[in-house]
């Protein structure tokens, strides 16, 4: 955690101009990514994916399949990277950990009464500790949006700090659920609170609320990370999640990342895509680059 004396006053207003931030975000989409830049970008995006299954109907069988897919994205294309992590509920962490073995792929677990976060703090802490004890490398917590919108910033801050403590060695991703915060000002404020309270990652969304990740929201968060880095010297990672299912959009995100935070962030330690269907779209594009023709979705395994 950052020294108390450097923690800003979170009740002070922040200024994000909606028109301006949306205009800037759309400018990144004007970059034309071709040839080797496209190939490198797609490979990198693939390697940044947190392959996710977060459903009530998840079973061990489903999670095992997903873990196999994570290690063998498309064996018809040798030399592909793996995804960065598998993201599951706490009850599936043990299964995932075992299935992934020493592949180097991380196990991320959502926690803190995901996705609503409407539970007492001790439950959230136990939820987190449970996942960590079963081997989770990363914890994806949700903030208490209700408290945040009430202006109870200290509550939100303390909760994140408490979960961070419960994480131990695991890296903490803090989900802001930007679709419920609505305005860019609030996204920025929540980002600052999360980073000062000890987040290792800030993450846009649970994927359960629409809109999930958008480019302008992600841009606000990347700029928050940059300003935090200049103030404290501490790097924070970013994870947009939900709604990124096409390669082209993923490349736009990478352009944005590269132009806001620079190349130090251009790897899966500092940036992730939370997505379930993005991987196959990237694979489809990679096969197109390699063979010159598009193959149908039937040629790519879904799990």
């Amino acid at each position: 955690m950052i020294q108390t004396k450097t923690i800003p006053d979170f009740s002070a207003p922040v200024h994000i101009d909606q028109v301006g931030i949306e205009e800037r975000a759309s400018r990144f989409t004007k970059r034309s990514i071709k040839n080797e830049s496209k190939l490198n970008g797609l490979m990198l995006a693939l390697n940044m994916i947190d392959l996710t299954t977060l459903e009530g109907k998840d079973t061990e069988g489903k999670v095992k399949q997903l873990c196999y897919k994570a290690q063998h994205l498309h064996d018809a294309y040798p030399g592909l990277p793996t995804v960065a992590a598998i993201c599951v509920y706490p009850s599936m962490v043990k299964t995932a950990k075992a299935a992934l073995g020493d592949s180097g792929i991380k196990v991320a677990s959502v926690s803190t009464a995901f996705p609503s976060g409407q539970a007492p703090r001790d439950v959230k802490i136990r939820d987190t500790k449970f996942a960590v004890q079963h081997g989770a490398d990363e914890i994806d917590m949700v903030i208490s949006r209700g408290k945040f919108l009430e202006g109870e910033y200290n509550f939100v801050f303390d909760e994140i700090a408490a979960i961070k403590e419960a994480c131990g060695e695991a890296r903490l991703k803090v989900i802001l659920e930007t679709g419920e915060l609505v305005t860019y000002d609030k996204v920025r404020k929540a980002s600052d609170i999360a980073m000062y309270a000890g987040a290792d990652f800030i993450k846009t969304s649970t994927g359960k609320i629409s809109p999930a990740a958008t480019m302008p929201v992600t841009l606000v968060m990347l700029e928050a990370i940059r300003d935090f880095y200049y103030k404290t010297g501490k790097k924070i990672a970013m994870k947009p999640a939900g709604g990124i299912s096409k390669s082209k959009l993923a490349l736009h995100y990478l352009v944005m990342l590269n132009e806001v935070l620079g190349e130090d962030w251009m790897n899966n330690e500092w940036f992730r895509f939370g997505a379930s269907s993005l991987a196959n779209d990237i694979l489809m594009q990679l096969m197109k680059l390699r063979t010159g023709v598009y193959q149908s979705a039937n040629y790519f395994s879904i799990d």
Partner: protein
Amino acid sequence: MATKKNNTIKLKFDSARNLAPAPESKSAAKIDPQYDLFINGKFEKPSGKKYFPTINPATEEKLSMIAEANTADVNKAVVAARTAYDKTWKKMPAAERAKYIYRIARMIQERAREFAIIETLDGGKPIRESRDFDVPTAANHFFYYAGWADKLEYAFPNRRTEPLGVAGQIIPWNFPLLMAAWKIAPALACGNTVVLKPAENTSLTALKLAEIIQEADLPPGVVNIITGAGATGAAIVNHADVNKIAFTGSTEVGKIIQRAIAGTNKKATLELGGKAANIIFDDAPLDQAVEGVINGIFFNQGHVCCAGSRLYVQESVFKEVVRKLKDRLETLIVGDPMDKNTDIGAINSKAQLDIINKYIRIGQQEGAEMYQPSCAVPKKGFFCKPTIFTNVAQSNRIAQEEIFGPVLAIQSFRTDDEVIEKANNTPYGLSAGVWTDKGSKIFNLTTKLRAGVVWANTFNKFDPTSPFGGYKESGYGREGGLQGLSAYVNIIENR
């Protein structure tokens, strides 16, 4: 614990610029080896038989040969315009005029890609800008004024208007097609005929527009487009049968025109230079303000009369803004204008590059601190790195004189009154920008800044419905919007 000093932290952006080339195809546009003068609906050889080359400033390669119109050619064009005015255009029902203007707009849209490519090849601006800004905005101007043609009685309620007659129009090299649209569209809508001269180093898109006007079957002589340099322009200004001069260009030439038409009955609108103040308060959305500053000064390589070339930053956020600006500069891509990823293209001409470099030297000699990003620029062609100066004084020449290039002079200020005074302390008054989250502050400044356009929390936004024009040495008259109509009509008070 040893903590890293903040000033040692630096983000790395090398890879952000090294994208694989993504060039637009030259072959999608047709450029003839030689262009003649467009007079009375036909392309005619210049009577002096002289042609001059037009080059691509990014490669210094010749694109085409352009006809040079002499006094005789100018006379021919004015006679054609007068005849068309008397015989056809003046008498045509306004709704019919509107159809022609609308048709031109549609044809520009249909050939947008070709226009964008030629604009970029001939002028050096990035294809992203000609594609996304110049060409669509030009088409929009024709659409907008097509709508006004038969509604002039609503534009001037309870008053009758009549067209002026023949309008002589002289446009600059920074937005060749767009300026032609700004000039031609309202003139035609109000019932005037036109003799237009594009700048000598960027004639191609105006000549392409002439082709469209021919194809659109506009009655011969309603629009004449003649090419040439200063002497051709002077011949238009001095022609006795021209009723109106519309000029966009330098203040120096504007003054010459003003003198030349003194004592004549010619009406004039002059849109001249600028040295706009862009003002950032400490409660501004800083990242968006920085982006606005970038767009304000580096849009079209800074070849914009309303460019935000003076930046005033409130002292409490000065360091942060300058840091953000420097980071943003590192991600700008300077290079081949035809590449879709290029942010800053070629300087329009060798002469202009020399002027910009002269001012960069002056800035350094004056003791201002220069910063340029570490990007490489192409060896061939005319290029200039985006440049910012800090430690600038109000009395520095780089803060007073129009540079017309990608050079920004940054100063700090403490109070609202101070910055208003400094922003107005210039012979120019074309545009200004204000960045603050506080609405009341915006209104306070917009009423006190002596500039024709004041943008709030944005910069360099243009729309056909919005008037544009200057105070003081930035000229007079308004173009665009309802106000742009009054520059092309005589108002008769009682109907």
